[in-house]
Amino acid sequence: MANVLVFAEVRGGDLRKVALEAVTAGRALAELSGGGSVHALLAGDAGIGAKAASLAQYGADSVLVLEHAGFTQYNPEALAATVAQQLGGGTYGYALFSATAQGRDLSPRVAAKLGVGLAADLTGFTVEGGSVLGQHFNMNGKVVATLALAGTPALLSVRPAAFQPAEAPRALATTAITSAVDPSASRVKVVELKLGNTGKLDLNDAPVIVAGGRGLKAPENFKLCEDLADAFGNAAVGATRAVTDEGWRPHSDQIGQTGRNVSPNLYVAVGISGAIQHLAGMRTSKTIVAINKDKDAPIFKIADYGIVGDVFEVMPALIAAVKAAKAQG
């Protein structure tokens, strides 16, 4: 039996969906190791404790709430000290983070403070003989390593969207905790958080992604991708590096080796050649559709369904057909 401490990620005062995924993964880990408790650590400005209820709804037996103005923004130094302090008490066998920009900044700091192992960006795991065996991509996504993680506490982070949040309601139990160090004394400070695409679905949360490449020819033609995304209703728009380098779309929309890793249910690649660096970020999508006028484009090698055609001819028809399908329910 091992208890699991889950770090619940917050951005701009709101819980992120990845926090619920992490609680779900934490529950699975606790069950696999013989039924321990799952505690979530929730840190933010005064009032963040109100978000504890959703963590309990998804299976947190208890929520450690840290409320302080010094945690309004991500405060890596004070958070690392606080998480390390909680883990140092001997209560936990594991700590679980989201493999997001925040979780991948925080978890290595905690691992180094405690001198314990960290297995990052896992897409799945089992527990054998008391140690975690976790699946982790290597080689740009072309190889899967199964990592064995020894020692206590052991740290792991899970890839966004690898675990779907599953409700497992618990009675809400919260414990107020304090920061291990003065949060205003941190050397590294967030002075501004710039939210992109406010109000739109984030690439990691969207079940459907419509991604555009250089084949769209000009920034204004991304309207075709926007319109298809709107027709689906639950979609976000992504791009290749060729496109973000041109400044047609923001860097944060870039999918691939040097951009975002996504695995939606449906990925529609519009005018994208399918360079290996692009595939590295989207090859784990469940269903892939490609529209490209070059029948030899590498994207067709991994696409489930392809149309060899001109995006400007195919996209309007596809937008209309998806709208019609949605209207029929």
Partner: protein, 260 residues
């Protein structure tokens, strides 16, 4: 980038990893324990090239940068990647020699931290992620081991005096961070494009100092249990060559893929 400090000579270290070139079909050894290295080519990890470039630009724009050192932990053959960095313009190299680069990020970080501590650097640059291990942890681990301020995923950087301002990429958002030097940064795509080594640079690199010493690798808590290739995607279908194929596509998305 602007910079820096008073009169004293500023020292910058860049940690670079030798990684396989990824445009190949990988194979796994028969015992399933690792990637078959036969026929692989190697280069400097992409993100580390951008870290080298950032260091070189700082040096060029500021008279008081005394040296840019590159440090790599890896096999003897990694001298080739260190020489490339020297040819780009770095001043000296250190190889922390290890026959195999461990999978455990903390083991690597400890060995690098020991070397960096000795050097007394003002700025230590890492790549955001090594594209072979995909650990994305070494930079912040080293920072913690040396108790240095650290900003990860930096795609914009400005240093004035001893204060830095960096923008770091989140999923769909940006954090603007301030930090004091000395500091550790991990460099993301978007900060710069690396230069190619010039012929003159390649010649000069041959004469630059390259120290080789054994890596101080401790215990590993994370080990590779096995390696495998991900399941191949089933061969896809080309549905047609124009919008005439759209009805069939929509039907398959509804009935077969069940995503619509």
């Amino acid at each position: 980038l602007s910079l820096f400090y008073g009169a004293s000579a500023v020292k910058i270290a860049v940690c670079i990893k030798r990684v396989p070139v990824m445009e190949v079909k990988f194979a796994i050894t028969a015992d399933g324990s690792r990637v078959d290295e036969a026929g692989l080519k190697y280069d400097v990890n992409d993100f580390d090239l951008w870290a080298i470039e950032a260091a070189l630009q700082l040096k060029e724009k500021n008279g008081n940068v005394g040296e840019v050192a590159v440090i790599s932990l890896g096999p003897d053959a990694a001298q080739e990647q260190i020489r490339k960095a020297l040819a780009m313009g770095a001043d000296r190299g250190v190889l922390l020699q290890a026959d195999r680069i461990p999978a455990d990020g903390l083991a690597i970080a400890r060995a690098l931290a020991a070397e960096i501590k000795e050097g007394g650097y003002d700025l230590v640059l890492f790549g955001r992620i090594a594209i072979d291990s995909m650990n994305q942890m070494t930079g912040p681990m080293v920072a913690e081991l040396l108790d240095l301020p650290c900003v990860t995923n930096v795609f914009k950087l400005d240093i004035t005096g001893t204060t830095g301002r960096a923008e770091r990429a989140l999923e769909g958002a940006t954090e603007v961070m301030e930090f004091p030097l000395p500091a550790v940064l991990t460099i993301d795509d978007g900060l710069n494009k690396e230069r190619l080594p010039s012929l003159k640079g390649i010649m000069a690199a041959k004469k630059k100092p390259l120290d080789v010493k054994p890596a101080q690798l401790g215990d590993a808590k994370v080990t590779v249990h096995k390696m495998a290739l991900p399941p191949e995607r089933a061969a896809g279908r080309i549905l047609g060559d124009s919008s005439a194929a759209v009805p069939e596509l929509v039907r398959l998305l509804q009935t077969e893929a069940k995503v619509l």
